[in-house]
Symmetry: C2
Subunit: 160 residues, 2 copies
């Protein structure tokens, strides 16, 4: 068990299960998890933190998998479209999905101190914004919900 993300969990299992789910979903939906795409997903999964496209590119380039921006952006676009990763708008960065398989509208808790990100679900269409949207006749297609603040580990401690 390690504390990656906000909660202690078996991260090794978390990674391998997610990779397995991604594999099987690609097989089922005739998507191609090519070496670059697979490696980018692994990189995103390694820590529960958001990585910028150029961070990814740095890793890829060090591993001989590509040196130019489009390499990273193409892989990230694929992962996002396939639902294997999400883009964090407030950070211009990307993170692996931790709810792979479930149909979900993701919401994120982003620590401004350690950059950890936790993915949660949202029920936006049932809350006040959903009411406002219905009242205005607005048709919601996609939601961005990101809360920034301090994760438990980064909050000032009272301990002497």
């Amino acid at each position: 068990m390690t504390t990656i993300g906000f909660e202690t969990h078996d991260h090794h299992a978390c990674v391998s299960e997610t990779m397995a789910k991604a594999e099987s979903r690609c097989a089922a939906q005739d998507l191609r998890l090519t070496p670059v795409r697979r490696r980018v997903l692994e990189l995103l999964l390694a820590e529960h933190r958001a990585l910028g496209a150029y961070d990814i590119l740095g890793h890829l380039s060090a591993e001989g998998l590509g040196t130019q921006p489009p390499v990273a952006y193409r892989a990230l676009d694929f992962l996002v479209k396939a639902g294997f990763a999400h883009r964090i708008e407030a950070l211009n960065a990307y993170i692996a999905c931790t709810h792979l398989g479930k149909d979900h509208a993701p919401a994120f808790l982003i620590c401004r101190s350690c950059q950890s990100v936790a993915e949660s679900g949202t029920a936006l269409t049932q809350g006040r914004l959903g009411d406002a949207a219905r009242a205005a006749g607005f048709q919601i297609e996609h939601t961005v919900v990101e809360a920034q603040g301090l994760c438990p580990a980064c909050q000032p401690q009272d301990a002497a």
Copy 2:
């Protein structure tokens, strides 16, 4: 009355009231609404749409108020910090606040077709994300809530 934003409203009054509120709040809080800042707020207020920093800069430059990026970014930073404008993360763009004076956590409905933006309130800390945050011990400082979709005017019509 004009349909700027999703709802018909007296936009002329909407603009002048907001400018007046901004003026009086600057007076009260010893903030300086300089010509550039004032003009940028007027530009943002003119339509209920989000404008990019370089759109703003284009206007300023045409009006002789400044030609370099920092001019626009400084004014926008001031307006955002003062609470007179909000940044839309999903668009890398800015919009005038329509709830000036009220203490609020803004949420936005963004039309992908006409780029209109409506500002609504959110009660994020009371919803599922708030529950998740409390459960994890995460301290929320700032929220980004943006719904993208189609405004009433841009939805396909059945009319013959």
